[in-house]
Amino acid sequence: MHRKRPKHLNLMEIKLPLPAVISILHRVSGVLLFFPGIPILLYSLQMVLDSPQSHDEFQILLTSLLVKSALILFLWFFMHHFCAGIRYLVLDLNYGIELEQARMSSKLVFVVGIVLTLWVGTAIW
C-alpha cells in the first residue's frame, strides 16, 4: 500500500497543535536548563553559600534589571519543563490519553507554567 499523502513542509505554514507546542518547548527548555541552566544554578548556589561577602554580592547582582529578567525567563523554562514533565508522567500511566483530554491537559500545562512563573517571579522581583 503506497498512498500519496499530502506534504506540507513549509515551516511558516505548518500549524502545530498545542500538545506539539508543549512538546517542543519541553525539548527547548530542557536543553537551555542543561546549558546554561545548570552552571547558573551552581554559580548562584556557590555565591549564596560561599561567604557573607559573596552572598551580598549576589543580592546586589539580583537588583539588576537584566539579571532579574534573565532569571524570570529561566524560571519559566523550569516551570514549563516541570509541568510538561509531570503531564508526560501521567500520560505514561495511561491517564488522559484521549485526544480531548490531551488537548485540555496541554492547555493546563501551558497556563500553570506561566502562572507559577508569574507567582514566583513577582516574589523575586
Partner: protein
C-alpha cells in the same frame, strides 16, 4: 512475514525508565525544598548556611543533583541522536556533555562539602 532486525545497544528501556525515576526524585526534592524555604525563609547568609549546613540537606541536594545530571544526559543524548547524524560530531558533543556533567558534579560536591 516481516523480518524484524533488532539493532542498537539495548539500553533504551533502562534509559526510558531512568529518565522517569530521576524526574520523580527531582519533583519530590523540589517540593520538599519549597516547603523548607516557605517554613524557614532564608533572608540572610546565616540562614542559608543553616539550611545547607544540615547534613540531610546536603545529601538530598546531592541526590537531586545526580538525578539532574543523569536526566540531562538521557535527554541531551536523545536530542543529539535526533538532530546530529554525523557520527564523529555527535560523539564529540556527547563526550563534551559527559565531561561537563562530571565537572558540574565535582563542583556541586565542592559547594556542599568544600
Amino acid at each position: 512475514m516481516v523480518k524484524r532486525i533488532v539493532t542498537g545497544a539495548h539500553y533504551g528501556l533502562l534509559d526510558w525508565l531512568a529518565q522517569r525515576v530521576t524526574a520523580v526524585v527531582m519533583v519530590i526534592y523540589i517540593l520538599l525544598l519549597v516547603v523548607v524555604l516557605l517554613i524557614f525563609p532564608p533572608n540572610d547568609y546565616a540562614a542559608w548556611k543553616t539550611i545547607f549546613g544540615n547534613q540531610w540537606t546536603r545529601i538530598t541536594s546531592f541526590l537531586f543533583f545526580v538525578s539532574l545530571c543523569w536526566h540531562a544526559w538521557i535527554g541531551i543524548r536523545n536530542i543529539l541522536m535526533d538532530y546530529i547524524h554525523e557520527t564523529g560530531i555527535r560523539l564529540t558533543i556527547q563526550v563534551l556533555v559527559i565531561l561537563s556533567l562530571l565537572f558540574y558534579t565535582v563542583w556541586a560536591i565542592d559547594i556542599m562539602w568544600g
